[in-house]
């Protein structure tokens, strides 16, 4: 044993033990793993969240100084200081926040008056700021020295050239809209239009020009026509290059002095530094997205391979979780040990996932799933783990090696990547071993519980058949012949019309769940909700107005504070604003007159409460820049080609400025056109004036006029639509029957639950295929055999019928008419009727109506039935008992009794029969017996003289107790094995017995007829090998079958005048300990399967036992061998073994598993399905028509399945009357007809498309 092998064994053992551990304590282990993951991910909390949002850091404004650019010298607490806080910021932002209102407010003011005069004051304010200079000992410092000097705008922003400062200080204010020119402002007829001319029409994502210039978010500015608070706020934004605290303080104090804000409580303590991340452009995004798409494709293709588990999705999720959390753990661990990730996490993440991979997880799943199912879950997990342990370890070592090599590239980025990958690999291994294995064990355990039901949709859907009906199946070799695949050479496309296409299934799914309706319904509800909420006259406006009115900060809530008419301090004479033109702006119409009267009203000492406005400073004003888009500053600086990516700006506390404007001022700045426009409908009477007392709503009413018509139209349309729908519904109710769309009469006779249905609950429609029913057997059909042209069936009484597989004609009945038991006359009567032409039934074959005739006859001749032997007593299928009865009889040593023209000598058996039956019946029905024989003698068409010579009584008495247990057919020879151990060879066409062998006493349970060899397996476990020899004319074999049908030469046909001898060549006395249940031969090998759990392989020529195959833990029920020496066996334990016949070794052992080895796995899978169904007691049988079509028998029906997909394709009902009869056996003929053993009838079902194809 080399070192490798030792290592391998050790690893395997360790994995085995580990698997046992995991499967034994799943819950504690999963909890433990979860805790581990959480613990390892804990350091991740310190890391900044990924994303491009800006990061803030604030320092007190008191003795603030810009940080040094070296990371070493940092004052303050280094733990709180972010690592980007180094060096001077790009700019200091000083905002002067202006709140202005017109006070007291007059009722007849226009909506534009709310913001027009406040905005007009901005020009003056800007001038003040621009001209501010600090005079101290060091000289005069002006704004120009400290502010951020900007140069050209980006060339692409030509249209903004007039609006943004192009040279000098970066100072922004709403005045920029008018080029900081008061005259322009005054002559501007429409302020709103000017402001909004550069607003994007579509959804705005980044900062707009209005936001930039106003410095506050659009809805806070109050520059609109619906401003009910009548407070306008805007900022003058100043970008400073250097931080000069004295200059700023002086500016602040001066502005406060000029425009005091008495109730301002803004804290001015902190400088906020905002760090901006690198923004990802689309050019960078495309490769990133590509890698992620590749990653998802990889995950998809990987998890798609998970198969044969209870919950595919669950396991796929577990696999992905394993990989992801291993990555998180790796990052967390690396952070814990002091390594800070510098790489872009989003970029390297897909590569890390790909490097770590999902392969191990899949390999583990596959390995565990392919362990034998009959084992305990623990053992399955352990076996699966240990069988893959070596490859897992090898892969892991290889990957680690590769990554370690990568570590020595000495490129820092690659080293970091490799470090993450190594830690990720190790943690992934840990998680695989603990987390995924445990999840897998839970899954497998769930599957064990659910087990077969899910696997077998068809059988599970059907009610279980009478278990009695086939209870004997276990004791005898089921006569089900495993249909060989590829008997039909067909393109799979010919079944396309049978298979339900995928799109149809999708549609059915939609139809079943009413997905579309529900989606539309939900969508409509949401849409209506949104409409109601966002409508200008809707809920939101209402709510906001409610809130505003109730708010204590609202205008009504506060007691009116008397404000002096001149807000400005009287002492300040420098202010340009203090010098008002004494005459107001020319107001032409007579409304002006009225307005003035109105205005004078309150000024005369009757101030109305609520008309005076109070500017309030709340907490929300403190850092109003936070409400701006986070792209506000980057986009502002980007206009001047300054990037903020990976840099920061410092935002200084805003300077509050409060402006109160008296009404006179407001009137003065009013533009004449505005008055015209907004007051074109202004009523002249005073009473009407009250109606429009809220000027803020004057315009909405104007605009709303058009809206109202729109709403009317919409409402009308909606109403008419509803009416139409109701009308149609009523019409539908009136005209359509209630059961419209439901199944018709023919369908309603079956309950839906009875129908075989697929996984989706969908039952395909019953087909129009009318099965060809072959009637003639009196009793239930026991066994079936077929070659390509002929079909042989045998019923419980031992009657063999030969049918033409193409047309369904009955060719021969064996035994011949008239050679039946003499003790019962019923058959003879029957046959005499058979000969007469039947006028009533125009069936093509006179033999076919015997069954019906029997029924017709029975009433007038009741006495005949009294002596009909009780056949049920003869059908003794308890083979063990039978064997004991038969065994004591002396064994004849004669090789073979050959008869050519003489009948059998059955004297020995006749006596026995007479003892049993004759004695009982002679008394009652003696007369009938004579009549019967006379009638039989009168039959003129008896072809064989030899049978007539012999005593008919003796010839057939033997069959009374011997039913045919097994049948095989080659060419025109039928080999029948009877329960009394007799082997008979019949001519299928002529119905003559060619030879027989009655040596064995034990019933023949299985037969194989291959070339000229017959192998019979007996109930006592012995095997007899016979060879058929033709004496005279073996050389002139004829070949039957037209070459056009099949290129394969048909079986040789023995001509009727040949002498056929059946010679026992070998006997294996005790091949098996228990009865042989399965027998198959191919390629010179014979395989037997027995109830003693073993299989044996014999050589066909010399009956030499080659192998004894052990491995099943139950009786063998089915064996399949093909020309390529592949051998599959199915056992009662539900397992399927694949064997190699050449070496005798077990290739594979599986359960309900479509293995990788194509064809074989398929075959095995089918077998398993067959098995499972038998376990369920459904008595279902099955066959394979072609590569992908499977036929199963159910309750009175035959179902076609697609093997590859497991879909139910079609269901064919075989008869109307006998629904309770299950289809017991299915035999697939070459022309794709399926023969079902169906009670006493046979049904030939042609798969329609197959037939078309062949014709």
């Amino acid at each position: 044993m080399t070192l490798t092998e030792k290592l391998r064994e050790k690893i395997s053992r360790a994995f085995y033990n580990h698997g046992l551990l995991c499967a034994s304590y799943p819950i504690p282990i999963i909890l433990f793993t979860g805790l581990c993951i959480l613990a390892c991910c804990y350091p991740l909390l310190k890391l900044p969240l990924p994303g491009t949002g800006p990061v803030e850091y604030s320092t007190p404004v008191k003795d603030y100084s810009p940080p040094s650019s070296e990371p070493g010298h940092q004052q303050g607490d280094p733990s709180e200081r972010p690592d980007w806080y180094l060096g001077a910021p790009v700019a200091y932002i000083q905002q002067i926040l202006v709140k202005a209102t017109v006070s007291p407010w007059h009722k007849n003011f226009l909506a534009v008056d709310v913001f027009r005069s406040p905005l007009s004051r901005v020009f003056q304010l800007v001038e003040e700021i621009r001209n501010h200079a600090l005079r101290d000992s060091s000289g005069i410092r002006s704004l120009e020295e400290v502010c951020l000097q900007v140069t050209d705008l980006l060339p692409s922003l030509k249209k903004l050239r007039d609006l943004l400062p192009e040279h000098g200080c970066l100072l922004l204010s709403p005045g920029n809209f008018w080029q900081n020119d008061r005259e322009r402002f005054n002559s501007d007829p429409d302020i709103i239009k000017t402001i909004h001319q550069h607003e994007p029409k579509t959804l705005q994502t980044s900062a707009t020009l209005k936001d930039l210039l106003f410095g506050v978010p659009g809805k806070y500015s109050g520059v609109n026509l619906y401003n009910r608070k009548r407070v306008v706020s805007y900022t003058v934004t100043l970008a400073l290059q250097r931080y000069d605290s004295r200059f700023l303080t002086s500016l602040r104090s001066r502005l406060k002095l000029l425009h005091p804000s008495p109730n301002c409580t803004l804290r001015e303590e902190h400088v906020v530094h905002v760090h901006f991340k690198e923004e990802i452009g689309i050019a960078e995004l495309i490769p990133l997205v590509t890698t992620y798409i590749i990653l998802f494709a990889y995950i998809y293709f990987s998890t798609r391979k998970i198969d044969m588990v209870k919950s595919k999705w669950g396991l796929a999720l577990a696999a992905v979780v394993t990989v992801l959390s291993s990555l998180l753990m790796s990052v967390g661990l690396c952070t814990l040990f002091g390594l800070t990730p510098t790489l872009n996490g989003g970029e390297i993440f897909p590569y890390l996932v790909v490097v770590i991979g999902l392969e191990n997880v899949l390999v583990l799943t596959k390995s565990v799933v392919s362990t034998p199912v009959d084992l305990e879950v623990k053992l399955r997990i352990a076996q699966g783990l240990s069988s893959e342990s070596w490859s897992i370890m090898k892969n892991m070592a290889t990957e680690l090696g590769i990554i370690l090599i990568g570590y020595f590239t000495l490129v820092p980025a690659i080293q970091e990547f490799c470090l993450f990958a190594v830690v990720g690999l190790v943690s992934d291994f840990f998680l695989q071993m603990f987390f995924f294995t445990t999840v897998l064990s839970i899954d497998i355990r769930r599957m064990e519980l659910a087990d077969l039901n899910k696997r077998l949709p068809a059988e599970a859907c059907m009610p279980s058949a009478k278990p009695v009906s086939r209870s004997q199946t276990y004791e005898r070799q089921p006569a089900m012949r495993p249909a060989t695949p590829h008997t039909i050479t067909l393109q799979p496309s010919s079944f396309r019309n049978l298979r339900l296409p995928k799109r149809l299934r999708v549609i059915y799914f939609f139809a079943r769940t009413r997905l579309a309706q529900r989606l539309i319904m939900a969508g409509t509800v949401i849409w209506i909700g949104i409409l109601v909420y966002t409508d200008p006259a809707g809920l939101r406006t209402y709510l906001t107005s409610q809130v505003t009115e109730q708010s204590p900060l609202g205008e009504a809530g506060l007691p009116p504070m008397p404000v002096p008419g001149g807000v400005l301090p009287a002492g300040d004479a420098k202010l340009a604003l203090s010098v008002f033109p004494s005459e107001p702006v020319q107001l032409s119409e007579n409304q002006t007159q009225q307005q003035r009267e109105q205005k004078e009203g309150p000024s005369n000492g009757q101030p109305e409460p609520g008309t005076k406005a109070e500017v309030t400073w709340g907490g929300e004003d403190e850092e109003i820049w936070r409400k701006l888009s986070f792209r506000h500053w980057p986009s502002l600086f980007s206009y001047y080609n300054i990037t903020l990516a990976k840099r920061y700006i410092s935002i200084l506390p805003a300077i509050p400025v409060t402006l109160y404007l008296n009404p006179r001022e407001a009137l003065e700045v009013r533009h004449p056109q505005e008055a015209n426009r907004y007051h074109s409908f202004f009523p002249s009477s005073l009473g009407k004036l009250e109606a429009v007392d809220r000027p803020g709503e004057a315009l909405p009413k104007l605009q709303g006029h058009r809206d109202v018509t729109l709403y009317k139209v919409a409402a009308l349309g909606l109403a008419s639509g509803i009416l139409l729908v109701l009308l149609l519904f009523c019409l539908y109710r009136v005209f359509c029957p209630k059961n419209y769309g439901q199944n018709g009469l023919s369908h309603s006779r079956r309950k839906r639950g009875d129908l075989p249905c697929d996984d989706y609950g969908y039952s395909p429609p019953e087909t129009e295929i009318v099965p060809l029913v072959l009637r003639g057997h009196l009793m239930d059909i026991e066994c079936l055999a077929s070659d390509r042209m002929l079909l042989v069936s045998c019923c419980l009484v031992g009657q063999i019928r030969v049918w033409d597989a193409q047309t369904g004609d009955c060719l021969t009945v064996i035994p011949k008419q008239g050679l039946r038991r003499d003790s019962s006359g019923i058959f003879d009567y029957q046959e005499s009727w058979d000969q007469s032409p039947d006028p009533k039934n125009g069936l093509e074959d006179p033999f076919d109506n015997s069954h019906q005739l029997k029924r017709m006859l029975s009433p007038p001749q009741p006495p005949l039935f009294c002596d009909q032997p009780d056949l049920t007593s003869l059908i003794d299928t308890n083979f063990l008992e039978q064997a004991t009865v038969v065994a004591p009889e002396p064994r004849h040593r004669t090789v073979c009794s050959r008869h050519k023209d003489t009948g059998y000598n059955f004297g020995r058996l006749v006596e026995k029969v007479y003892e049993e039956t004759g004695s009982a019946r002679a008394l009652s029905c003696g007369t009938g017996e004579g009549g019967c024989s006379a009638r039989r003698k009168s039959l003129g068409d008896e072809p064989l003289a030899g049978f007539e010579k012999s005593s008919p009584v003796s010839a057939w008495a033997g069959d009374l107790e011997s039913s045919v247990w097994s049948l095989d057919l080659r060419g025109n020879l039928i080999v029948a094995g009877r329960s009394n151990g007799k082997l008979e060879v019949w001519d299928a066409i002529e119905g003559t017995l060619r030879c027989s062998d009655e040596e064995g006493q034990s019933g023949i349970t299985a037969l194989v007829f291959l070339n000229n060899r017959i192998v019979a397996a007996r109930l006592n476990g012995s095997l007899d090998f016979f060879s058929l020899e033709t004496h005279s004319s073996y050389n002139h074999l004829q070949f039957r079958g037209t070459p056009s049908r099949s290129s394969i030469p048909s079986s040789p046909m023995y001509s009727s005048n040949d002498l056929i001898m059946c010679q026992l060549t070998h006997t294996v006395p005790c091949a098996h300990q228990k009865p042989i249940t399965a027998l198959k031969a191919a390629a010179g090998r014979l395989v037997t399967g027995s109830q003693d759990h073993t299989l044996k392989v014999y050589r066909l020529e010399d009956s030499c036992c080659l192998f004894t195959l052990q491995g099943h833990s139950g009786a063998i029920t089915a064996v399949y061998i093909d020309q390529t020496m592949g051998l599959a066996s199915g056992g009662q334990d539900g397992a399927i073994c694949l064997w190699d016949v050449l070496t005798g070794s077990r290739v594979s052992h599986m359960y309900a598993h479509r293995g990788d080895d194509e064809g074989w796995g398929e075959q095995g899978w089918i077998w398993d399905r067959g098995w499972g169904s038998r376990d369920l007691g459904c008595g279902a049988s099955l066959g394979v028509i072609s590569d992908n079509l499977l036929v199963t028998g159910g309750q009175g029906c035959v179902s076609f399945w697609d093997i590859g997909y497991g879909d139910l394709l079609q269901t064919v009902y075989l008869g109307k009357s006998n629904e309770s009869q299950p289809a017991r056996q299915i035999l697939v003929l070459e022309n794709a007809a399926i023969v079902c053993n169906f009670g006493s009838e046979l049904s030939l079902v042609y798969v329609p498309s197959v037939l078309e194809k062949l014709d």
Binding site: T290, I294, A413, Q491
Partner: protein, 200 residues
Amino acid sequence: MNLVIRGIVLFFIGVLLALVLNLLQIQRNVTLFPPDVITSIFSSAWWVPPCCGTASAVIGLLYPCMDRHLGEPHKFKREWSSVMRCVAVFVGINHASAKVDFANNIQLSLTLAALSIGLWWTFDRSRSGFGLGIGIAFLATLVSQLLVYNGVYQYTSPDFLYVRSWLPCIFFAGGITVGNIGRQLAMYECKVIAEKSHQD
């Protein structure tokens, strides 16, 4: 799957990869404000993506063809998930060559060579694949150098050595990747043929 269809699929894969990887390379000197995406995608000459597509179609068809002629069908890791992994690693190599700052060109070329050979060993492991990859790398480098000499095409980077050092490795890895895809596509065809013959 028809040969033509395979060729078309491979062609489009090649075009897509060329566009995306070209974008990656452009990012090396990415400006602050990303220029228009369209222009950056088509910033290189228009004929580069079609050339890459044609080359990938040829290579992708050549690999399975050679496998068939040599009589040793490629069995190693024949799954789509493995192919996806291979493509991801290839993009990763490109990413590394574009984004990671290397100390010098020798380090860059050595690292890329190691990565490429690692790619081959992880996903291919066939001698024919290796030989073909080397041949492709050699030919493609030769062609690109000829183009540069004749002034048809110029690299943005003036560093001539820089260009030469990473190009063969990328070509090698690309050849392996496209060959992998081509083999996987060809396997579908083989499957169909096998099924047909099986039915016959």
